[in-house]
């Protein structure tokens, strides 16, 4: 895409407003989907991109295996056993994706609750990252559940309210809807439905606060799930009192750094989609996010150590498991902390991005360690995932990337949607009606503001014509 646009120079118009810049007519849905290109041009640029060929190969192998899982059952694709009920789908897919998706509630909170409007250029990316992460975590879950068609059961058929998983199910489901609403504003702009956007803006604060509540609880709840298995998870990764806190706190740097990672990849691959506001602010925003992540990492390190000290588990540090634990902490917590501290002080954005990668790897490693690698540490044999399980995980992850890219190319995430609100003179009938209403209502109703979105250039053109 990038290459195509470069080659063609400015001859192609990218969709970033309801109306075309050149002739002022509205873009059709098809044109919006094809980014203003003709189908032929669109296909050409898609075929030119080698990444798409890699995805094509992955899907050609992965999709039939995905279908096979639902025909031949779990044992066809996994090595999950009676001793290791949870494999890659949950251990990697769900437990790793969810903390990396905590960005939605964090940036939502910073912008809408704390009033940090300087972070707004990246807020939408964080919200989208949250939504997609959760959505695909649920997709991983659907592959793992024995009877995925019964997923709504804890909501409608049978309730097990004493179970932590019940909490997880309810909170993920409600939070997913909250995130859909939060991301929908961008979609409404893109579609040209201002009414929907206005409706969401009215409830933004409510949505954001429920986002914090639901996130706190279910990020924690995922950790609390493992407190059902004392003795199965290695003591260094297990803490009855702090498990939920470990999961919740580590999701904070995890989510923030995931946003840095995604924006880094986007800057390398789709800078054409950035507007000036995003482009000029990106480095500053990256540093801001890293500052938050550093605080999160410091807190996490502290409570991790408190966790070890609280149950007096120091003796385990000297074992092989202890070395692995130290690796996780050094690589995923201490190293990024040191890198962030140096890089923020010296304003080295590239180094910050490297630290963000490390943090993301560290959080994923922690979840995989807790759910898979150190799980059943007392049993003699370890479960090695089936190759089909790995193929499905890779395929699903590729779908995630493709969907992510599809949305970033189109919706106003990296750029501002160019719109103006044009007040339209109200007719006499409406004025009459408005007078009969209370005083407070008049400003709203007299100026029956119709949202007509036109591109900035279109408007200025129309004005000069007048």
């Amino acid at each position: 895409m990038k290459r195509y646009l470069k080659e063609k120079g400015n001859s192609v118009e990218v969709v970033d407003a309801l109306h075309r810049n050149s002739d002022g007519r509205k873009w059709t849905i098809m044109e919006k989907l094809l980014l203003g290109l003709t189908p032929r041009e669109y296909l050409q640029q898609a075929l030119k991109n080698p990444v798409n060929w890699i995805f094509a190969v992955i899907f050609a192998i992965g999709v039939p295996i995905m279908i096979g899982r639902f025909i031949f059952g779990l044992s066809w694709v996994t090595h999950s056993s009676c001793d290791y009920p949870w494999g890659l789908f949950l251990g990697f897919g769900l437990f790793a994706m969810v903390p990396l998706s905590s960005s939605g509630f964090q940036l939502g909170t910073a912008c809408e609750v704390f009033g940090r409007h300087d972070l707004e250029p990246i807020e939408r990316l964080a919200l989208l990252n949250g939504l997609l992460g959760y959505f695909f975590a649920v997709c991983f879950l659907l592959f793992d559940l024995g009877q995925p068609w019964r997923l709504p059961y804890p909501m409608v058929v049978a309730f097990g309210p004493a179970a932590v998983l019940f909490l997880v199910a309810w909170h993920v489901a409600t939070y997913l809807s909250v995130q859909i609403a939060e991301v929908a504003t961008g979609f409404f702009e893109w579609m040209g439905w201002p009414a929907g956007k206005k409706a969401i803006r009215k409830i933004t604060l409510g949505l954001t606060v429920s986002g914090i509540i639901l996130s706190t609880l279910h990020q924690g709840a995922l950790g609390a799930l493992f407190t059902y298995a004392p003795g199965k998870v290695h003591p260094l990764w297990y803490s009855a009192s702090f498990q939920w806190l470990h999961f919740f706190v580590s999701s904070i740097p995890g989510g923030l750094c995931m946003v840095i990672v995604v924006s880094t990849i986007a800057a390398k691959t789709m800078a054409w989609r950035f507007d000036d506001r995003f482009k000029t602010n990106l480095d500053k925003l990256t540093i801001s996010l890293a500052k938050g992540a550093t605080m999160g990492l410091a807190t996490y390190l502290t409570i991790k150590l408190i966790g070890v000290a609280h149950d007096n588990k120091w003796e385990y540090i000297a074992t092989g498991w202890g070395a692995w634990y130290a690796t996780e902490i050094l690589l995923g917590v201490i190293a990024p902390m040191a890198i962030f501290a140096f890089a923020i002080k010296n304003n080295k954005v590239g180094l910050v991005r490297f630290g963000a990668w490390l943090t993301v790897i560290g959080v994923v490693l922690n979840r995989v360690n807790t759910a898979m690698i150190t799980f059943n540490w007392k049993l003699p044999e370890r479960e090695i995932p089936h190759w089909r399980e790995a193929v499905i995980a890779i395929t699903l992850y590729s779908v995630y990337i493709v969907v992510y890219r599809f949305i970033l190319y189109r919706l106003p995430i990296f750029y501002k949607w160019k719109t103006v609100e044009v007040p339209v003179e109200a007719t006499e009938g409406i004025r009459e009606h408005a007078r009969s209403l209370s005083e407070e209502m008049i400003p709203e109703s007299v100026c029956a503001k119709e949202d007509i979105a036109v591109s900035a250039r279109q408007l200025s053109g129309a004005e000069s014509a007048h």
Partner: protein, 303 residues
């Protein structure tokens, strides 16, 4: 108020919407079992590893034919565990004595089962007769019960694509226990390894046996206190860790480990809205609420 009721109440609130009362859920975290709950005392010193209990279970529960016939003792070369095809298995342990020790494994029917408290659709029930039974009609297949079971008991029929279910010993509840009869394995045992009776009586009986012949028994009944007590109890001649029992289990029921988190839930629900709305008011006090938004995506004009 019983503790679990309290926890349940907290969660009920947190679930907010349409949560009906389940009515099926059991008593508190310190629940010691129903007063008339039945149990089985397994005396490992009497077991000779004939596997007739495995055969009886297979027949009673209409399980598939085993790969190795029930009179074949070559199975003892490996340590087995209950699966969806064998709800009970017997393992052999060489403990240094003249005779090996055999240990029968099946669901221990905990007083306060971890499978039950970890299940988000309440597929498990602890009956007043003492059995922990399972409802395959509502199981979603998350396998959290298998994560939670401290004895690694539940097996899962992974090979079934359309109706995989958890399989574990149900104390022959449907066919026998409900009618006051002992489970098939107990009845089939030629050595009288297992004694069926009220759990409370069995605890007394076990201690009696230890007191009468202290040389024969290791001084402990496994299952009397573990994870809040189990319906099935064990006597052994050797320390229990030598015959594959997990002796590091806590005496508290597993649900107690989750109580810190569960009690935090209503706090977050109550405090967060006020806290964050307050912060919002403070941080936007002089800026007239939302209107100072750069409101990037709603702004007039663009770049």
């Amino acid at each position: 108020m019983k503790r679990r009721d309290f926890l349940k109440g907290c969660l009920m609130c947190s679930a907010a919407a349409a949560v009906g009362t389940s009515g099926k859920a059991q008593a508190a975290g310190s629940f010691e079992g129903y007063p008339d709950a039945m149990g089985v005392l397994v005396d490992l010193t009497r077991c000779v590893g004939c596997r007739s209990c495995e055969a009886a279970c297979n027949k009673e529960q209409k399980l598939p034919e085993p790969d190795v016939p029930f009179d074949d003792t070559s199975v003892f070369e490996d340590k087995r565990r209950p699966t969806e095809r064998a709800l009970t298995v017997v393992n052999r342990y060489e403990t240094g004595g003249s005779e090996p020790v055999y240990r029968k494994i099946q669901c221990n029917h905990c007083n306060e089962p971890a499978c039950l408290t970890s299940c988000f659709v309440n597929a498990y029930t602890k009956t007043k007769e003492g059995a922990v039974i399972y409802n395959p009609k509502i199981c979603v297949g998350c396998r959290n019960c298998m994560i939670a079971c401290p004895f690694n008991v539940p097996g899962y029929s992974y090979s079934s694509a359309f109706n995989p279910v958890v399989k574990k010993c149900i104390f022959c509840y449907d066919t026998r226990l409900k009618n006051g009869k002992p489970p098939a394995c107990v009845e089939s045992c030629p050595q009288e390894v297992m004694t069926f009776g009220k759990r409370a009586d069995l605890v007394k009986l076990g201690h009696e046996r230890i007191r009468e012949t202290p040389s024969r028994y290791y001084d402990k009944i496994y299952g009397e206190k573990e994870v809040g007590g189990t319906g099935w109890l064990y006597l052994s001649s050797v320390p229990f860790d030598k015959v594959g029992f997990d002796t590091t289990l806590q005496n508290e029921p597993i649900i107690s480990n989750v109580k810190d988190f569960l009690s935090m839930v209503p706090m977050v629900l109550a405090i967060w809205p006020a806290l964050f709305s307050g912060i919002h008011l403070l941080s936007t006090k002089n800026k007239d609420g939302h209107d100072d938004h750069d409101d990037s995506h709603n702004g007039t004009g663009g770049h």
